[in-house]
Amino acid sequence: MSVDQSDITKVALLARLKIDEADVPQYVENLSNILGLVEQMSEVDTDNVVPMAHPLDAAQRLRADEVTEVDQRERFQALAPQIESGLYLVPKVIE
């Protein structure tokens, strides 16, 4: 399985990663090699195998619907690059 430059551009868009134009050929090579390694999987017959999502096949644990966390907005927002009046600031989305 190999990928081409347009695949890299598309995946970078999906992943929200800015990739320099000059680095695209390197990504083509690396991803093609990695997917080549991964390709070995296709040789295995897995028709009747149940997928394993958790090593111990544990199911999601449920808890009572109770408030357990306290509001720490100021503390967490102290880490934010840009805030104002308790809001996270981003470039204008809607005109």
């Binding site: 990928v3 695949d7 890299i8 995946v11 970078a12 999906l14 992943a15 929200r16 990663l17 800015k18 990739i19 990504y27 690396n30 991803l31 090699n33 990695i34 997917l35 080549g36 390694l37 991964v38 390709e39 070995q40 999987m41 296709s42 295995v44 897995t46 195998v49 149940v50 997928p51 394993m52 999502a53 958790h54 090593p55 111990l56 544990a58 999601q60 644990r61 808890r63 720490q72 503390r75 967490f76 102290a78 880490l79 934010a80 690059p81 840009q82 996270y88 981003v90 470039p91 204008k92 989305v93």
Partner: protein, 487 residues
């Protein structure tokens, strides 16, 4: 204070409890050693000197008051993947270079509660993605046995620090071998517990279905002391397993007469360096001398572990790392033109090359139309790998083999070729795929470089692994060797 820096945790704990040494004295000694040697090794990202000395003074009070636990006053280093409240927590990424964790991980909180003293945060591969500690934003870490070689990864800073006796123990995390492979390459004991045994709360996520924290120490006896603190159910980790935690120190001295050891023939194939193979053979003979019974077994799907891992781990990493958006915390680009530009440039600038590569692979395999062919297929093969182990444990108690196919390689040797680098984890990855516990213990040297013996146990059988490791360490002294420059 003679050679306190080369003592095990068990010895340091005894010295602290008897009053032979104070925690402030010990902490000062290790802080001085870090200052002296870190410039050459680059194993610490952050030193927490003031905090360490305050914690040491408090530990000394506890020791005087007779209110001390085994690790009270013992200095320890934490991998910089654990959130430590009020302390910079970077995961060795530019993305988190400015991140002061607002809360404490469960794992490190348990060490605080036990009275252990944090010396600092250790270097690692960026977001734990790497096998050589060369992907860190803060630069490569050096192997104390040979400064031109890698310490292994991703817990490279932790092993380098412990091997150089800059800390008597450290925490690490293991997603595909990140505790065991570096422990092997630096001549230390490292344990990856059963998935779900140690809480992942506050441990920055890489691949959530594989990540597990564990101890890096000189001896199995020390690993047991750390496990007694780290292990246990945590309701804040949805994959934490609620089952009884044994006293890991209790069974260390059990006889291993009649222990059934399985050697997977797939772990002794052409890819294994002959010099490493000879050391492993000698270690297995030592076990036979100790009364164990050895037989060959087969784990037929071993070769599929690396390909499967490079679907599961990148898929989960691309999902986990989507939280880094330049909005709530972490790196943000200058002057974003619009929201798309904010996301893409913040992430493009904040992540390093290997992290971006894995996000790209993960995004590709999860993209529309590919899920069944990649992620679902990988989950099915994961079951086959796991079933191999289940079948093996029907007939043997412990599985043994090499931890890594070679000794520590040269810095830069594999840095340009991701696939070659990935194959250095060939013997460790299947354990994570199955969720089993496994340890690496020092088994000797090949051309002056340490070789690790891997011990794989059944689910929640960490006690037995530590027992089996301890018996070997009673009969040998590979685990007590110190690199010449750091004695």
């Amino acid at each position: 204070m003679t050679a306190m820096h080369t003592k095990t945790i068990a010895q340091l704990s005894a010295a602290l409890h008897s009053g032979e040494v104070s925690s402030v004295e010990l902490t000062t000694l290790f802080l001085e050693r870090i200052k002296q040697h870190n410039p050459a090794l680059n194993c610490f990202i952050t030193m927490t000197e003031a905090q360490a000395l305050a914690a040491a003074a408090a530990a000394d009070q506890r020791l005087k008051a007779g209110d001390a636990a085994p690790l009270t006053g013992v200095p320890i280093a934490h991998k910089d993947i654990f959130c430590t409240a009020g302390v910079k927590t970077t995961c060795a990424s530019k993305m988190l270079d400015n991140f002061i964790a607002p809360y404490e991980s469960t794992c490190t909180a348990k060490f605080v509660e036990a009275g252990a003293v944090m010396l600092g945060k250790t270097n690692m591969d960026e977001f734990a993605m790497g096998s050589s500690n060369e992907t860190s934003y803060y630069g490569a870490v050096k192997n104390p046995w040979d400064l031109e070689r890698v310490p292994g990864g991703s817990s490279g800073g932790s092993v380098s620090a412990v091997a150089a006796r800059l800390a008597p123990a450290a925490t690490g995390t293991d997603t595909g071998g990140s505790i065991r492979q570096p422990a092997a390459l630096c001549g230390l004991t490292g344990l990856k517990p059963t998935y779900g045994r140690v809480s992942r709360f506050g441990m920055i996520a890489f691949a959530s279905s594989l990540d597990q924290a564990g101890p890096i120490t000189y001896s199995a006896e020390d690993a047991a002391l750390l496990m007694n603190v780290m292990a246990g159910f945590d309701e804040r980790d949805s994959t934490s397993v609620d089952c009884e935690v044994p006293d890991y120190s209790a069974n260390l001295d059990n006889s291993i007469e009649g222990l059934k050891i399985g050697l997977p023939k797939e772990y002794f194939d052409d890819g294994l360096d002959d010099r490493v193979a000879r050391v492993i053979d000698a270690a297995v003979k030592e076990y036979e001398a100790l009364g164990a019974v050895v037989k060959e077994i087969s784990l037929p799907n071993t070769a599929l572990a690396v390909p499967t891992y490079y679907v599961v781990a990148p898929a989960e990493c691309s999902t986990n790392l989507s939280r880094f958006d330049g909005v709530r915390f972490g790196h943000r680009c200058d002057d974003p033109q619009d929201l798309f530009d904010l996301y893409t440039r913040s992430r493009g600038e904040g992540f390093g090359a290997e992290v971006k590569r894995r996000i790209m692979v993960g995004t590709y395999v999860l993209s529309a139309g590919y899920y069944d062919a990649y992620y679902l297929k990988a989950q099915k093969i994961r079951r086959l790998i796991s079933d191999d182990f289940r079948a093996a444990f029907e007939t043997v108690d412990v599985i043994m083999g090499p931890t890594a196919p070679t000794t520590a390689f040269k810095l830069g040797e594999k840095a340009d070729d991701p696939v070659t680098m990935y194959l250095s984890d060939i013997y460790t990855i299947s354990v994570n795929m199955a969720g089993l516990p496994a340890a690496s213990i020092p088994a000797g040297f090949a051309d002056g470089l340490p070789v690790g013996l891997q011990l794989i146990g059944n689910y929640f059988d960490e006690s037995r692994l530590l027992n089996v490791a301890h018996k070997y360490q009673q009969a040998t002294d590979w685990h007590l060797q110190v690199p010449a420059a750091f004695k």
